[in-house]
Subunit: 186 residues, 2 copies
């Protein structure tokens, strides 16, 4: 059988973009970073219009993610998945909050069905969302996939608080800009 | 910002286990391989009790997957996710069936919420399942997470046929054997 491995990277600019000493205190600060990553990813042609970041309880970035599906030929490489995987690689924990601290994921747009499921296992305490699913489907041709009817309640029952519509207008503008550029939809 | 990448591997024995020329014709042949991978993964202490494989329309293995969550400190590294990512890495397509051919995923147990969502995007035409979710939750302490109420219908409406209970008793025995060994639950 052919040996094959999975190797996923973030574009180099992501690492330069984020000051590891900076603190992102408010929910808006955190989602603003996710939206900026989504915009830069499009401008620099390194992936689709989605960004995300994992923050610790002090508001410091543990890891970031941008969409890399096309670049890596990998349908798993959504922004949220990249953020979870790189955060877990840095901390060497498969459940981030197993150290007893609190972690948040901020994302430029509501997680799709895959990233939703991944959020259940990643070890976060809070999910901070910019654009809604209907914004993604209105402004782009991306599909968000099937979710449980009470997707927010299902997360909250598992100890993951959900806050939506954070900088929603900014997040919508980033999605619209992608479509205006004629970005690839998949 | 700290540079960090994601690098996931299958254990070397997986590659030795599978003859790339072999054809797995029936649904039972395909799920039997997934179950065998789940058992070997436990016996060889290379991950949790879950196996999966992607097959092309001729029944040849495109790629396999086993659970690697603990080994890679990565909550994404479920068997189905590893199979999708390695199949896409081999074919260099982020949607497997974009080449107009048919692909199946066989899995030893019903996909959890994360792998369910990933199945929507991976480009498969068919999902073949051994153990049920309730078997996993009865025989191990693994949680399967929240799914849409009509999870089968949601896949079928997107062109993914679902067949369940294939070699279910064998799949249940593999899960029970893991628990009997006192395998780690997470």
């Amino acid at each position: 059988m052919l040996y094959v491995q999975v190797h996923l990277t973030l574009p180099a600019w992501v690492h330069d973009e984020i000051d590891p000493a900076a603190r992102f205190v408010s929910d808006e600060d955190k989602v603003a970073l996710a939206i900026r990553l989504s915009q830069r990813n499009v401008e620099l042609d390194t992936g689709g219009p989605f960004g995300a970041a994992v923050f610790d309880g002090d508001g410091r970035v543990v890891a970031a993610g941008v969409n890399r599906v096309v670049q890596h030929n990998c349908s798993v490489a959504h922004a949220e998945m990249m953020a979870f995987m790189t955060a877990q690689a840095r901390t060497q924990r498969f459940r981030l909050n197993d150290d007893g601290r609190r972690y948040s994921l901020a994302t430029s747009a509501q997680p799709c069905c895959q990233c939703y499921g991944a959020s259940v296992w990643a070890g976060i305490d809070e999910l901070l969302i910019g654009a809604r699913s209907e914004d993604v489907e209105e402004l782009t041709e991306f599909d968000e996939g099937p979710l449980p009817a009470d997707w927010v309640g299902e997360l909250e029952r598992r100890g993951i608080a959900v806050r939506r519509d954070i900088l929603r207008d900014d997040a919508r503008r980033a999605l619209a800009a992608y479509s205006a550029r004629g970005g690839l939809m998949y």
